[in-house]
Amino acid sequence: MFESLLNALPVALQFESLISLFVGTLIGILIGALPGLNPVMAIALMLPLTYGFDPIIALGLVAGIYNGSMYGGSIPAILLNIPGTPAAIATTFDGYPMTRKGEGGLALKTACWSSAIGGIVSALALMTLAPMLAKVTLAFGPAEYFWVAVFGLVSIALLVGKDASKGMLCALLGVIIGLVGVDTISGAERFTFDTLYLVGGFELLVVLIGLYAVPPVLEMAEKRNESYFNAESFRVSPGGGALGLLRRHWRTWSRSSLIGVAVGILPGAGGNLAALLSYNEAKRKSSEPESFGTGNPVGIAAAESGNSADNAAAMIPSLTLGIPGNLIAALVLGALMIHGLQPGPQLFTRAPDVVFGFMWQMLLTAMLLLLLGGMVATRLFAQVLRMPSALLVPTTLVLMAVGVYTVNGNVMDLYVMLGFGLLGYLLNRLGFPLAPVVLGVLLGPMAEQNFRLTMLIAQNDWTVLFTRPISLGIVALLAAVLISQLLKTLRQRARSAAHSQQR
């Protein structure tokens, strides 16, 4: 296998491949940076243009757009609090506060390096461990998926901050929002109030842009003349070179990259889950968890390396098993089929140059991010913030409108986005955290569907949730996290009690 890997390197390094990587990465960053324009759409549009060429050129474009967009999504998340892609949601938590504090340049730089590192680790995992990790993918049935979702949901307890009941209420609100629409298991409609629009449920991107991006725009409109951003943010180049970043973040990077790869090999879980889990872990491990959410660069490092590490790993089940891990992987499979390459276990032996060449391309494009990412972000996008805010408000609103409209081509989505915007604004002002809402929307349906599938398969014997080895492993991990957190809280409480007694 390693021989084929080495043989494929020259394929990935040939001139046409490098050009397609370069162009792809550039397009990817731009696409990711514009909310609503997603990499799936871009790849679907670009692929037909490459059918006449060698498959490695098409795959180079895919690799570039894929990795580029994952970083690109962080740019508006940091500058405007708009998640450019759903996976960038956790990047807004600390990225936007940093921009408002005047540290936007550092935030973008951290995001760029973190994305690149995550992408590189993920590509290396794809190159060396793919067949082994594919076995893990198959071992995960509905019961295991259920526990992964529960693991994510329980970590809400760590995200909520001081007010646990408010956090739980928000998470439950998210779960209820996620329930709307046709239930995929029974085929019955739930909470659709007899409107056809609700039959399909709420589109994730519409909910996210509404909840996260509309409230800051409304606030900006209210404050138009007062300075909303620290204009000096991008003039001074952030201190501390790459080595400084490495010294500061290497723990976060390695932890988050591992989480990203682990989530990536599970088809259907996705980069947003990887980013949120990484963020939680970073916060939990931190010595100053209360600084998360107020502009701590570690939060960005965790989120961005987590979601980028999902990328190449998500290709593992699709290349080795023919089971697409996400929509982009599905498009790659489609492209391979159009070139006459049948996805599945034989792909590695029948077209080693294509498969291994693609793996190299995933690695190269992650490295290209370092070259292109910082340049594009700071030179181009950061200038947006210099616009007078009376113009920044309407242009941002147009950008969100076009982004939301192009998802489904439905005007109704725009009103729904505005509705969620008002909800987000209100929750913000009433002191409710928004992150648990998002987790609820994302993980609620995943937990529910997989729980019910497990029960269907096991004929309502709930003991299967605990008797399978992997399930048991996740449950044990979950218990360990909860107990350690509980002990930490108790210790803190005891300390502060002692403290007040002394006074």
């Binding site: 009941s165 408010k166 209420l169 779960v175 209820i176 009103y415 505005l418 209100l426």
Partner: protein, 164 residues
């Protein structure tokens, strides 16, 4: 005095209760999660309501009594709570413009409506330099057109003067 906890608690209690009420009619296993989530939501809204009631009662008691130090503490706390809407006029203007924008877009066409929306809202929010408004609007719309119509060929609502 702070009624917010009380009112938001009651709002969540209502959402939770109606979720359970609607969920109980769902078929078998489709009902588990709606009922569970609704019930939990009701349960978690109770501490919030309790806290709201307590703070209101405490504030009442405070105004009756004359414990100066406590009143002081409470007053500073009351000041820390941000207003629900900072500037109602601009808030409403932005929302209103958005609604008109969304309503007009499918009829008038995407690019025309967007150009009008940007310039109008910019002026309403207090930008008074015509050259700046016109320049940025034009530049931005050209950029969008180049990206969506020329490069990506994404269908957006067609301009009324092109529709056949």
């Amino acid at each position: 005095m702070n009624y917010r906890d009380l009112f938001s608690g009651i709002a969540f209690l209502i959402i939770g209760a109606s979720t359970v009420w609607m969920g109980k009619d769902f078929f078998a296993d489709a009902a588990y999660v709606p009922i569970g989530a609704g019930a939990l939501m009701g349960a978690f809204s109770l501490p919030l309501i309790w806290r709201g009631v307590k703070s209101i009662l405490a504030a009442r008691a405070m105004t009756d009594s004359t414990k100066a130090s406590h009143t002081q503490a409470h007053r500073t706390q009351a000041h820390a709570i941000p207003a629900l809407v900072d500037h109602p006029a601009r808030f409403a203007t932005t929302l209103g413009c958005c609604l008109v924008y969304y309503a007009a877009m499918p009829i008038v066409g995407f690019y025309t409506t967007s150009a009008l929306f940007i310039s109008l809202l910019a002026v309403l929010l207090g930008e008074r330099r015509p050259a700046v408004v016109a320049g940025i609007t034009l530049g931005f719309i050209t950029l969008l057109y180049a990206l969506f119509a020329v490069v990506l060929k994404r269908p957006l609502p067609v301009e009324f003067f092109f529709a056949t």
